[in-house]
């Protein structure tokens, strides 16, 4: 049990528990805040995985944009479904079973797959070099420029679509999120 493992377990626990809170908390706003915490935990895991860039991006996009957007939406629609109202539909039992089964299966697969079992080490990599490589590969013609451009188009479409769909109220709000 090295220190890294300790940190990992800590972060993982925070992430997982807050994720659970996201789906169980009756107060939507709380759910939103728990979501923020989850995202932050994931960001921490990214740092642990020596992907600081992604960690920061996670914070910027998810916490800085998506989460806040969601909280906004909650505030705007909060007249409905207060904590007194039913939070779950009548499928929740089925949902629980399905999720649990899926989790069990995945865990089983992971554990009985030797190559993934305990003891597999992360390889060493020079992250700062990687960051430059990441930047270049995004605009490299024979690497990822196509996905990159496609993503940009997607964002543009989402921007326009969101503005159009929600025009009368908060037209600009949805617009901002995809910067």
């Amino acid at each position: 049990m090295t220190a890294m493992q300790a940190i990992f377990l800590l972060l993982g626990l925070i992430t997982f528990l807050s994720a659970v809170m996201v789906v169980v908390s009756p107060q939507l706003i709380h759910a939103g805040l728990w979501l923020v915490l989850t995202l932050a935990g994931v960001a921490g895991l990214f740092v642990l995985l020596e992907a600081p860039f992604l960690a920061v991006v996670q914070v910027v996009i998810y916490i800085g944009a998506i989460a806040i957007l969601i909280i906004f939406a909650i505030m705007l629609t909060r007249r409905m479904l207060r904590e007194d109202g039913r939070q779950y539909n009548n499928l929740w039992a089925g949902a629980v079973t399905v999720s649990l089964i899926l989790f069990a299966v995945l865990t089983f697969l992971v554990l009985q797959e030797p190559s993934l079992a305990a003891g597999s080490e992360p390889l060493q990599a020079e992250t700062s070099v990687l960051l430059q490589d990441l930047g270049r590969s995004m605009v490299d013609v024979d690497r990822f420029i196509i996905p990159f451009e496609v993503a940009s188009i997607l964002l543009l479409a989402a921007l326009i679509g969101a503005i159009y769909v929600a025009r009368p109220m908060m037209a600009s709000e949805e617009g901002d999120r995809e910067e």
């Binding site: 499928l91 399905v98 299966v105």
Partner: protein, 711 residues
């Protein structure tokens, strides 16, 4: 710029102009004629550049400039198209470019550009009261297309491309003769022209095919300029007995010329073609298209004359050509004598002059024919434009004095020289050139060269026939000039005629210069006095085309005296006969000739004869035999029988098979689907999460099946 590049570029501007006008510019008249004239002017400039460059080259005839690209691969070889620049095409290009330019400019004035559109005018009819032509832009589009065709024909380096240009011009001729399609006569004329030339073209196509089957190529260079091909063609016997292959091909191609250049017996379309606007008559039916026939046989000269050597006896093919040419020359001249319509006279004179050239080719006078081709193009274009100007003036008079007279009838004119001096003088020069007025005019030199050639090589018959034709030519030319310009006006309309605009007169002047001056480039050395002052450049230049250069013929006073005599005599006679014709008086010739005059006036009843001999039978076959019997009875009967049986079979199948089996099945399917839907639709609750749950469950089932059992 390389010569071949220039040559490639020359035909393009007109076709571009055509497209541009048709697609975009046709709403704007000024723009339209701007584009058209601009295009033809570019071609003209390039042609002049080419000409200037070409005449500088030493014995250009031996090594002309060619360039070609593969077009249609046919087995081993390929049909190519390309350009051939040799003295012949250079000369052709020269007169074509000049006449085209002149006539384009002339058309602007002729169609009353700058006047208001007259609301009374309708499309398809000539403007009534001097308003601008309703289909102005369309006219320029058509003549641009025509210019393209002519330039392609002149520059083409193989027979196929030449034929393409040839047919483009045929189409344009059709469209332009019928330009005023509102007039029934124009409609008939256009159809007549098209059908008649088609007869010739079919034979020409046969000739081309035959040539291709024999030699495997259509390129001029490969056929006309290597001896063994010509010899094999000349020696190998043709499918029809008595002729060599070369002879037969030559004849077939010549039939094409007969159609295009309106030689007897296919001459009937040309006079009627005068229904078109006058620039068209000048452009197509005097200067360029009809010359194309001559140009083609000049081009194919080595093939036509395969097996003939200078001074030797004529081959059968050449005899036929010479005969038809000479006959047509005389024949058309006689008809021209008795015509009233100013343009018809010119039309027949065109036929007869073309006959001259054909005859010249027939007797092997290559250079003379080419020479006369060029000079004739100039002075005949001049004459037509002049007549157009005259008609224009007289029409103007008609509009002023609301006197209903035929503005093309020469007997309604007279005394116009005061009214329209520019037209008069240019027309006079053209007329003199046509009638071969000695020394001064180009017509004299070219015609004299043909006569001299005929005499020198002892084709006496041809010589005298042509000489007689020349006499008549001079006669009717003077008749025309006298009736039109001299004397007193016979009608108020003629009295109130007026000179045309500059756009019409300037081309006249330009053409007049050539009609006079171009003769001087071809004065034979041996000519007494004048000979040798100017070198006989034309002979050297064009003669260089042939593999064996034609020798300059020795001088002989007889043909000279004859031609001078007939020219002057004819002119004098004409003047004496017609110098005082009162208004409404009949043609003096009528008294002299009596019944013959009627025959001449009715063109030997050729139209009637064709009408009875060909058109009626054709109608009859179409109506009675083909339509009534073959089509209605046999074919329709058969089809109806098929149809009825089909109906019966169909009815049977329907009652026995379709309704009980197919439909029932279809209904069953539909019903069962509906029933199933009624049962199952409960599943579709419209709740996304439910769908998602079900979807996940089943997907995971499938996946787990493949993971555990399958794979």
């Amino acid at each position: 710029m390389q010569l071949d590049l220039i040559a490639w570029l020359i035909p393009l501007p007109p076709i571009v102009a055509f497209g541009a006008i048709i697609l975009w510019a046709h709403r704007n008249n000024r723009l339209s004629h701007g584009i058209a004239i601009g295009g033809v002017a570019i071609s003209w400039g390039l042609a002049m550049l080419l000409f200037a460059r070409a005449i500088g080259i030493e014995n250009f005839g031996e090594h002309p400039v060619t360039s070609s690209i593969r077009w249609l691969p046919t087995g081993q070889s390929a049909l190519e198209f390309g350009v051939l620049v040799d003295p012949l095409s250079t000369i052709g290009l020269f007169f074509v470019a000049w006449t085209l330019l002149a006539i384009f400019v002339y058309s602007v004035g002729y169609h009353n550009f700058g006047h208001k559109t007259d609301p009374a005018d309708v499309k398809g009819l000539p403007p009534k009261a001097g308003g601008i032509e309703p289909m102005y832009a369309r006219f320029f589009a058509f003549i641009s297309l025509f210019a393209f065709g002519m330039l392609v024909l002149v520059l083409s380096d193989n027979l196929l491309l030449l034929f393409i240009g040839w047919e483009i011009m045929g189409l344009c001729s059709y469209l332009l003769i019928g330009f005023w399609y509102g007039r029934p006569s124009a409609r008939d004329a256009m159809i007549k022209a098209f059908m008649t030339t088609r007869v010739g073209d079919v034979f020409m196509l046969l000739g081309i095919v035959y040539l291709y089957s024999q030699t495997g190529t259509l390129s001029f260079r490969q056929i006309l300029y290597n001896e063994e091909v010509l010899n094999t063609l000349a020696s190998s016997p043709a499918v029809v007995g008595g002729l060599s292959a070369a002879g037969l091909i030559g004849l077939l191609l010549f039939v094409g010329t007969v159609g295009k250049s309106a030689q007897w017996p296919l001459h009937v379309w040309l006079p009627d073609a005068m229904e078109g606007p006058t620039p068209v008559s000048a452009l197509i039916h005097a200067a360029t298209m009809v010359s194309a026939g001559i140009f083609m046989i000049l081009r194919m000269f080595p093939l036509l004359t395969a097996g003939w050597h200078e001074g030797g006896p004529l081959t059968p093919t050449m005899m036929v050509i010479a005969g038809i040419g000479a006959f047509t020359a005389l024949f058309a001249a006689t008809i021209a004598v008795a015509q009233k319509d100013i343009k018809r006279v010119l039309a027949y004179s065109t036929i007869s002059q073309l006959g001259y050239m054909v005859a010249a080719v027939g007797i092997g006078a290559f250079v003379a024919a080419a020479f006369h081709l060029v000079t004739h193009a100039f002075f005949k274009a001049l004459l037509f434009l002049g007549s157009g100007s005259v008609i224009h003036g007289v029409e103007h008079g008609v509009h002023e004095t609301h006197e209903h007279v035929d503005s093309q009838d020469m007997f309604n004119m007279g005394g116009l020289r005061h009214k329209m001096p520019a037209t008069f003088w240019t027309f006079l020069l053209g007329g003199l050139a046509l009638s071969g007025f000695p020394i001064l005019t180009a017509g004299f030199w070219s015609k004299d060269e043909i006569l001299a050639d005929a005499f020198a090589h002892g084709h006496t018959l041809v010589f005298w026939v042509l000489a007689l034709a020349a006499l008549l030519t001079a006669f009717y030319t003077m008749r025309q000039i006298t009736l039109t310009f001299l004397g007193k006006p016979r009608t108020q309309a003629a009295g109130h005629a007026h000179e045309s605009t500059w756009t019409m007169t300037v081309p006249l002047v330009v053409l007049a210069v050539f009609a006079v001056g171009f003769g001087w480039v071809g004065i034979p050395e041996a000519f007494p006095g004048l000979g040798g002052i100017l070198p006989n450049w034309f002979h050297e230049f064009v003669g260089g085309v042939l593999p064996e250069h034609p020798a300059a013929i020795a001088f002989d006073p007889t043909p000279l005296l004859v031609s001078v005599g007939v020219a002057l005599g004819g002119l004098l006679l004409g003047w004496l006969t017609y110098r005082r014709v009162r208004a409404g008086a009949p043609d003096p010739l009528r008294r002299l000739l009596g019944p013959v005059y009627a025959v001449l006036e009715n063109k030997y009843y050729f139209d009637e004869f064709y009408n009875y001999a060909i058109v009626r039978p054709a109608y009859w076959v179409a109506e009675t035999f083909t339509y009534t019997f073959l089509d209605r009875r046999v074919i329709d009967g058969f089809l109806h029988a098929v149809g009825r049986t089909g109906l019966r079979v169909g009815a049977y199948l329907r009652s026995r098979f379709d309704l009980p089996v197919v439909n029932a099945f279809g209904d069953w399917v539909g019903e069962s689907t509906k029933a199933t839907g009624r049962e199952v639709r409960v599943i579709q609750s419209g709740r996304v999460q439910q769908y998602l749950l079900i979807g996940i469950v089943f997907t995971s089932l499938v996946i787990s099946y493949f993971l555990l059992v399958g794979a």
